[in-house]
């Protein structure tokens, strides 16, 4: 299997209290697959992605990519965060060159940066500073930067959560196009049902307290998904029903917490 997560557990210890965040996560991802991880806030979906990225470590269990156990961050796993995380002291182009420079000449890196900036339709903004372009454009630069490393796996952690509706749907198109063109394996964390339905081959629905996989939903209909409205509606209701009890659980915990104060 391309990417496999085996019995991943993760717990945090805070003030001598241990809280289980992820419990027994078991998931396999095929090469070239677009998999969304969908769940309410606090279900540990971002934590799971951080573990895949190598930025956090599993308390128990392991994750393997192409047969190798993940131990730390590496260029083979590019990551796009919720905030673009561009370096303000570098231009757009220099930001995309940043991961390339240690391994290739400046000229080659620049060429490659331009190629990927064109892919996200930002070829005209190479010399701009990050703060001179909009949030959606910044996120596109971040995508270009992750792609420029030519990672085997692209990790996206709610990359469009902070953007407005129009910008988001434009970025969905760009991501879908990139996915079809580059055939990258993408692991995409989101809390938006619509977003996951639009983009994924499979949706991993996660429950909370502790974070577990509730169900994995396979979406076998053609792209663009706007053609198959009825099927989408069916799945949307199904996922909503799955998540309803989870959200009730969170609300109940909040109320208990409020009552105990």
């Amino acid at each position: 299997m391309f990417l496999s997560m085996n019995n991943v557990h993760k717990s945090f210890t805070n003030n001598d209290k241990t809280e289980l965040v992820l419990s027994d996560i078991q998931l396999d991802v095929k090469e070239g697959e677009f998999v969304s991880i969908l769940g309410p806030s606090g279900c540990g979906k971002s934590t799971l992605l951080s573990i895949v990225a190598g930025l956090a470590h599993a308390t128990e269990g392991s994750i393997e990519l192409e047969g190798k156990t993940i131990k730390g961050p590496c260029k083979e796993r590019g990551m796009v965060f919720q905030q673009a995380a561009l370096f303000p002291w570098l231009t757009v182009e220099e930001n995309v060159m940043f991961p390339l420079l240690p391994d290739m000449s400046k000229k080659e890196a620049q060429q490659k940066a331009h190629q990927y900036l064109q892919m996200v339709q930002l070829g005209a903004y190479t010399k701009h500073s990050p703060h001179e372009i909009s949030g959606g454009m910044q996120q596109r630069v971040a995508i270009a930067r992750a792609l420029a490393m030519d990672p085997a796996l692209l990790l996206m952690d709610e990359p469009f959560g902070a953007l407005d509706e129009q910008t988001r749907s434009r970025l969905h198109e760009i991501v879908e196009k990139i996915f079809l063109e580059t055939k990258k394996t993408i692991l995409f964390v989101t809390h938006s049902i619509a977003e996951s339905l639009k983009l994924s081959d499979r949706i991993v629905v996660m429950g909370t307290q502790p974070g577990t996989i509730l169900e994995v939903i396979e979406l076998n209909f053609p792209r663009p998904r706007s053609q198959s409205k009825e099927e989408l509606l069916y799945y949307e209701e199904k996922i909503q029903a799955l998540l309803k009890s989870e959200i009730d659980k969170v609300t109940e915990k909040e109320q208990n917490h409020a009552a105990s104060r």
Binding site: L55, P73, K75, M79, F81, F87, P88, W89, F98, S129
Partner: protein
């Protein structure tokens, strides 16, 4: 009305009233000389080059002291930001020293280095290093963790991560630190020269005071003030603004 116009009117009035008051009440020049006397003294000081020599001497010490302070402050700031133990021990001492005006070290400095330039430079270094250290430390501690995470996914770690991400990300704080270090150094230098030895602006001020030449005293005070303002406005504030704009922190 433009702020600049308001300012000109204000200063003309200030000096005008001062001039008239000194004239009307026949104030002794040993107490408060008239503005015209001060300007004459300033002109004389520049035409016979004594003030120019003082300026050169003062600036020489300032640059030596400030250069040492900036390098030292940078190194100490990095140390405090990177080592928790150093921060908890040495850091507390540096914070405590911040509340002590550096000039109080002069008696000790004179014992250690003698009544010479070294003692004054020591005071300047002490005054400027602490504020630089604190700013560099704050800058490094406040580097957004997201930058570090992002860089790690791009294979940056260790010294390369530090030099390519941590250092540039903390430059806005370091620049503010430099600006404050200059201000502290300038004040410390004047105090040091006033109480130790010359040549220098501070020393000439005391020399004039010993001879009761108050118009020279005020002329030098004006000069100290003007240099302080000009260097800050024309140099440090400009750099600071440029950096903040480039880093997207100010519009």
């Amino acid at each position: 009305m433009q702020p600049a116009v308001k300012r000109v009117i204000f200063y003309v009035l200030l000096f005008g009233i001062w001039q008239v008051a000194v004239y009307l009440f026949d104030v002794s020049p040993a107490l408060l000389p008239a503005p015209t006397d001060i300007f004459v003294s300033l002109y004389e000081g520049f035409s016979n080059l004594t003030l120019v020599y003082d300026l050169v001497a003062s600036f020489r010490r300032l640059f030596i002291g400030l250069a040492i302070a900036l390098v030292l402050g940078l190194l100490l700031g990095v140390l405090l930001a990177k080592s928790k133990t150093a921060d908890e021990t040495l850091g507390s001492l540096i914070l405590a020293l911040q509340s002590v005006p550096s000039i109080v070290w002069l008696p000790l400095a004179i014992m250690w280095f003698g009544l010479n330039e070294m003692a004054v430079i020591f005071i300047v270094v002490l005054g400027a290093t602490i504020v630089m250290t604190i700013n560099v430390r704050t800058g490094i501690i406040n580097v957004p963790p997201l930058f570090i995470k992002a860089a790690k996914t791009m294979n940056y770690r260790g010294f390369r991560l530090f030099s390519k991400v941590t250092i540039p990300a903390s430059i806005p704080y370091a620049v503010t630190g430099m600006r404050l270090a200059w201000a502290f150094a300038w004040r410390a230098l004047m105090a040091g020269e006033l109480l130790s030895t010359g040549p220098g602006l501070g020393y000439s001020l005391r020399f004039a005071s010993d001879f009761g030449d108050m118009s020279r005293v005020i002329a030098i005070m004006l000069l100290i003030m003007l240099i302080g303002i000009i260097v800050d406005l024309l140099f440090f504030q400009r750099i600071e603004k440029k950096v903040l704009r480039k880093w997207g922190l100010a519009t």
